[in-house]
């Protein structure tokens, strides 16, 4: 609790608040991680509780009453949420207070946060680099020390990849262990609310508070009474890993050696179906998205065009003006793969491959306690020349999206800094074995004191 402990005074009095505000303002002029930052808006944080007065930030696709719920989209730019997500309510009940809503790729669709229609967020390590996505705002805010933790959402890697790009821990919990009530749906069967923090202990504390079955989310699940064993004796690695950037490749090899040095056996694992993670993932995700985003029409809330020549025209124009290109592309793809005549070939086939991937992990976890893979084939990429194209970015989701297809938990663990940007690796565990990953991450002993971007400062709150 050391990280959190240092935060519990920042909202205590006018002077602390001013110092806090100043620190954030200075950073935000460079990175613009948050769409809203307001120390006074959250009226629901309890006075006591384990997280009393601890500020935190929430990705702007998670509902917090009285705060905007833009999803990084023009279509919801002016929507103020009338209700609060269950995960946020649980943190408020524990005393924590929402201070900011963080930027994201529109509706969570992207790997850079550059797909936000509302702001450009920069990586705190290098403002010319992207923070990753889609929870790029949450990752940047945490990495810059603006909040001790932030909530994100992970549909195909959207917590873990920006955590890797910005140099912090990022947890994608087991599907269903954290209620999705209040998380704006992109791909319902794949996504889950996750946590980003610079400390494993904080991550664990927050996860234990937000996890739990929720009557408002019937797809939520209770964690088993007998949680899986916490120890790790064997770690699996994929037999074939190709196309890693030199920095990531080096970090990967270094991590394998590190794991061995802990006395843990490394086992090579084959999951052939993983070759099809990207097409299966994008087929399912876009299919679900095409239905999930059909509700945005400008009739009941959100952006409405001035063109009211007919109902159809009004709806189509509102959607056209309100959605960005990437969102439109994914809605179209999803609509297409669900069309009669195409469903078998795309959507249903993808669901079957999903089963094969799940089976592959089940078999793997019969042999090993955890799996270790890269998070993303590259470090945070720079904007402009040499930037990954949107298509290349999608192909690079292969390591992260596998966990979403299988439903299993995964954790981004920072490794080090190469060429001024962080490197990170991913741990994967069987269902409900989050704590096994936390313990192992602690054993790996990452030196977070060395993982600080220029301008990072904790002195102001001590």
């Amino acid at each position: 609790m050391t990280l959190l402990k240092s935060w519990d005074r920042v909202l205590a009095d006018v002077q602390s608040r001013t110092e806090y505000q100043n620190y954030v303002t200075a950073w935000e002029s460079k990175i613009r991680s948050m769409l809203t930052f307001d120390l006074n808006r959250d009226r629901f944080g309890a006075q006591d509780g384990p997280l009393a007065n601890i500020p935190f930030a929430v990705k702007d696709n998670i509902a917090v009453r009285d705060f905007n719920l833009t999803c990084g989209s023009r279509i919801l730019e002016n929507l103020v949420s009338p209700y609060t997500a269950t995960a946020v309510e649980r943190l408020q009940a524990a005393g924590a207070r929402v201070v900011g809503k963080t930027n994201l790729d529109e509706f969570g669709m992207g790997s850079s946060t550059d797909n936000s229609a509302l702001a450009q967020t920069n990586n705190p390590w290098n403002v010319n680099a992207v923070p990753g996505g889609s929870s790029g705002g949450s990752a940047a805010a945490v990495a810059a020390g603006l909040v001790p933790f932030a909530l994100g959402s992970d549909t195909g890697g959207s917590v873990r990849q920006p955590a890797a790009f910005c140099g912090c821990f990022g947890l994608k919990p087991t599907y269903g262990t954290v209620s999705r009530f209040g998380l704006v749906a992109y791909a319902s069967s794949l996504e889950v609310i996750g946590v980003l923090s610079r400390g494993v202990d904080t991550l664990e504390t927050v996860y234990d508070i937000i996890a739990g079955r929720d009557d408002r989310d019937q797809s939520s699940v209770a964690r088993p009474q007998n949680s899986p064993a916490r120890g790790t004796a064997r770690v699996g690695i994929l037999r074939q890993i190709a196309e890693l950037s030199p920095a990531i490749d080096a970090a990967y090899r270094e991590t394998i050696e590190k794991v061995k040095s802990l006395g843990v056996e490394i086992v090579e694992i084959d999951i052939p179906a993983l070759e099809y993670v990207v097409p299966a993932y994008y087929t399912i995700a876009t299919a679900e998205a095409s239905a999930n985003l059909a509700r945005y029409t400008g009739i009941r809330y959100g952006h409405r065009t001035s063109d009211d020549s007919s109902m159809e025209q009004m709806v189509a124009a509102s959607r056209n003006e309100g959605f960005g290109d990437e969102v439109k592309l994914r809605i179209l793809l999803g609509t297409y793969v669900l069309r009669s005549g195409f469903q078998d070939q795309y959507y249903i086939r993808a669901q079957k491959i999903r089963t094969a991937i799940r089976n592959g992990f089940d078999a793997a976890f019969g042999q090993v306690d955890l799996m270790l893979t890269p998070v993303f084939p590259t470090q945070a990429f720079l904007r402009g020349e040499g930037e990954l194209t949107p298509f290349q970015q999608k192909l690079a989701d292969k390591f992260t999206a596998a966990a979403n297809l299988a439903g299993i938990p995964a954790l981004t663990v920072p490794i080090g800094v190469t060429d001024g940007l962080p490197t990170a690796m991913q741990l994967l565990a069987p269902d409900f074995a989050e704590h096994r990953m936390f313990d192992f991450a602690r054993r790996m002993g990452v030196d977070m004191a060395a993982m600080t971007p220029d301008g990072f400062d904790e002195g102001w709150r001590k």
Partner: protein
């Protein structure tokens, strides 16, 4: 020479307190957009949570329709845009509905016809639209309420069959207590698919007939539509597959002529709610709540209890009358007699008082008491109406009413014998006539006794005593 095929798609509003997927009340008649919340308005981030009672009622109907009940059912999303639908997909069931492959027996002209049921599935209703001038106004009070759809196979032949089906079905859901069956208010809606073809040629090209808001309209519209299709085919033309609306003012169906837009519902499993696998506790509750169905009940009343057709028909029309009837019988009364009371005086008094049976204070115990009072001669048959009226108006037991009003007939033998002797003594002429064979004159003597008793003597008993005294 033509054969007709009719299939029905029936939607019923389930009588749940809350909507299908959120905690908004499902009551009708509130001001626009009163019973709405982020969930039923399709706000970003909300999730549906299926209503337990809606699920139970759905299984009840499927069970009553003799369906194969799904051991694992789940919801699907049916995708299409329309402003009355808040998410622009309807949560429905397509791949694995609550029930499949059932049948329902209907009586037409005294014969039982078995109609196959294709499936029974639970879905959500849409909101309502009001169109005025350049704008349409939306009210989402009804959006998300639980709607159960029942799809039959095209086993019905005539409009009369279809009307009988709807009436029997309506009676059935009312008996189960899952729907109020009100077609005018739309809590029971019916669309019909109809086609005709030359005998032996199978189904023809069908039309869908909508706007059928009474059982009678179902018959009339189908009779019209079958004739219309016959005329079309007779002219050597082809029936166009389309949706037609019943126009009850002009007694015709007319093409809706909607803009033909590409539609493709793109059904896929609803990821927000896990599959539902009914367990033993759930199923035993469902089974226990599927009461004896009206048609079966009617047969039992007719064949087992020997009720008249009219009485049986009357009773099974309303579950509450059946319950009252059966409870009263269970107290030991004669079924036929009780049924006559119910169809006769009870119904009559309720109608006159404009009171529903539930609010009438008439219970099995009270009805049983009333019948016994009359049977035993304590109450004159002719006074029963008055007693019922007071039971209804003042919530009192019949015996109390009889006592308070002084309606009891004198049964005491010594008192009656006194009056009888007095009448014989005072009317020697009448006695003479009777003894001479003019037995009808005995009614004069009965009248005398009634006068002495101020109307409280039991005329039947008095007659007996007079006959006995005069040695008849």
């Amino acid at each position: 020479m033509y054969q007709s095929f009719i299939g029905l798609e029936i939607h019923i509003h389930l009588l749940t307190r809350t909507k299908a997927f959120c905690g908004c009340t499902a009551e009708f008649g509130a001001p626009p957009n009163t019973h709405v919340c982020p969930v039923c308005l399709g706000y970003p981030g909300v999730l549906p949570a299926v209503n337990e009672e809606a699920m139970k009622m759905s299984y009840m109907v499927a069970k009553a329709l003799n369906c194969e009940l799904s051991p694992k059912c789940y919801f699907d999303r049916k995708n299409y845009f329309y402003p009355d639908m808040t998410k622009n997909y309807q949560i429905s069931q397509f791949h694995d509905p609550v029930g499949r492959n059932g049948y329902f027996d209907v009586e037409v002209d005294g014969e039982i016809k078995r109609v196959r049921i294709h499936d029974v599935h639970l879905e959500e209703d849409a909101g309502k639209m009001i169109h005025s001038g350049r704008t349409s106004l939306l009210d989402y009070n009804r959006a998300g309420t639980s709607l159960l759809e029942i799809v039959t196979e095209p086993d019905l032949v005539t409009g009369k069959d279809a009307e009988a089906f709807i009436r029997e079905f309506r009676r059935m859901v009312r008996h189960l207590g899952v729907c109020d069956g009100n077609m005018e208010e739309g809590s029971l809606r019916c669309d019909a698919n109809v086609s005709i073809n030359l005998k032996g040629q199978g189904l023809g090209t069908k039309t869908e007939v909508k706007n059928l808001n009474s059982a009678r309209f179902v018959r009339k519209a189908l009779e019209y539509e079958i004739k219309r299709q016959g005329r079309v085919l007779g002219k050597g033309e082809k029936v166009i597959q389309e949706t037609r609306l019943w126009d009850s003012d002009n007694n015709v169906t007319a093409s809706m002529r909607t803009k033909e837009k590409a539609h493709d519902y793109r059904y896929f499993p609803e990821p927000d709610m896990p599959p539902f696998c009914p367990d033993d506790a759930f199923m035993s509750e469902v089974v226990s709540r599927v009461v004896e169905l009206p048609l079966v009940k009617k047969q039992r009343y007719l064949n087992g209890l020997q009720l008249s057709v009219d009485a049986a028909e009357f009773l099974v029309e309303d579950r509450l009358f059946c319950d009252l009837f059966e409870e009263t019988c269970a107290l030991g009364g004669d079924a036929k007699q009780i049924s006559n009371w119910l169809c006769g005086d009870v119904q009559g008094q309720l109608k006159r008082a404009e009171v529903a049976l539930t609010d009438s204070h008439i219970t099995a115990a009270r009805l049983n008491e009333l019948v016994k009072l009359v049977d035993s001669g304590v109450l004159q048959r002719g006074k029963a109406k008055e007693v019922l009226e007071l039971v209804i108006a003042e919530d009192k037991d019949p015996s109390a009413v009889v006592r308070e009003k002084g309606f009891e007939q004198v049964q005491d033998d010594s008192q009656l014998d006194g009056w009888v002797s007095e009448a014989i003594d005072k009317n020697p002429q009448a006695v003479e006539q009777i003894l001479a064979g003019n037995t009808k004159t005995i009614s004069f003597l009965v009248g005398q006794v009634m006068r002495f008793s101020k109307g409280k003597a039991d005329p039947k008993k008095v007659t007996d005593k007079l006959s006995q005294a005069l040695g008849l």
